[in-house]
Subunit: 219 residues, 2 copies
């Protein structure tokens, strides 16, 4: 099976594959599979969901679903990959904005992250809840991916400290963890249709975080 899966993956991820209708159809089906798995993992829990359940939600035979995956954990990892694709795009966008001061770049990046989080609540809940369900290798892959983001944020805070825009006494790594905490925790309390609009939450959270990082340097 691994060979078949590799083929499926490379087909659906080769940029040129979308040039023909078959490639687009496969990618669309791929996205539907991840979407259905995400929803079930979110509602019932990863342990309680079987590949059979995902197949049923898609109106597919279990055998056909195995065209896309080898194991249930493959489905979980695809959810994780999708989250990282989104997050990585924000990082690429804002690491490119070297024309802006560090805290403006941090503000732009965190705004994207928190909006992404609130817009993809089921996926993000699975992402932050079920990491330990991944195989050790995939777990390590996700951790490596996260470290790139941590390094980016720590770097921006250190630059801001050097420029006198952030409290130089605080450790940039700690500040980065607190910042991610304030942002990421949103997936635990935010529910669509509540008292606050997403953009109001995002801008208030980013302001809170930047004030926290600036400290007395912001005065």
């Amino acid at each position: 099976m691994p060979a078949k899966k590799a083929t499926t993956q490379s087909r659906s991820r080769t940029p040129g594959a979308g040039a023909n209708g078959a490639g687009r159809a496969t990618r669309r089906r791929d996205a539907e599979v991840i979407e259905a798995a995400t929803q079930l993992f979110y509602e019932r829990g990863y342990t309680e969901t079987s590949v059979q359940d995902v197949a049923e939600a898609l109106g597919m035979l279990k055998g056909s679903l195995y065209y896309y995956i080898d194991t249930k954990e493959d489905l979980l990892f695809r959810v994780f990959e999708e989250v990282h694709e989104g997050y990585d795009a924000h990082l690429v966008e804002w690491s490119g904005r070297t024309d802006l001061p560090p805290l403006e770049r941090l503000s732009g990046y965190l705004s994207r992250v928190i909006m992404d989080l609130m817009s993809n609540l089921a996926k993000m809940s699975v992402y932050y809840h079920d990491m330990d369900r991944l195989s050790p290798e995939r777990h390590a892959t996700i951790l490596r991916g996260r470290r790139v983001h941590m390094k980016f944020v720590v770097g921006l805070i250190e630059d801001a400290q050097a420029a006198g825009d952030a409290d130089p006494k605080a450790d940039a790594r700690l500040l980065a963890n607190f910042a991610f905490g304030a942002v990421i925790w949103t997936y635990r309390w935010y529910r669509p249709g509540g008292d606050f609009r997403r953009d109001a939450i995002a801008s208030s959270c980013v302001e809170f975080v930047l004030n926290g990082i600036r400290g007395s340097a912001g005065s």
Copy 2:
């Protein structure tokens, strides 16, 4: 069985019960049971742990463990109750300090919460990870307990806003959520023996949160 369990619970929780040796022994055994369950839920996951596993870890027969509980979920709920007992003590302590300005009380309360969190990592990880495993009634009980803490923190922020010590434009409920996020997220990245001492993390986190809440009012 419910009657037996109720007896056990009331025995182990009646303040006067400790006056005799039998009461103390029961309470100690009670604590050991919760401790063993916590550790297994943390290491293997709640779903993957059986009552038999907990009994084995304690060197007890499964039947004897059923003297303390009726179901595995009882064990989980006891973990939740312990966490709330700890958190509630911090709330009682700092809601009593009406002699202090609101942000000092908030600072004192949050310091206790984050130290508690880092000192009880296994228990806190189960608490924040496995809430959805509780029965609907117990889930609701825990939510009610949390709301008291949220109300306390929102009240302190509103008092600080009224006193001109916190940004009056930000919504106190949002600020409280961001503050809890920065504090609680610590259980996800903090590991004992790392680069930072717990008290350094606690004071840095509380300073970050207070700067975030003060905003421009802090200048």
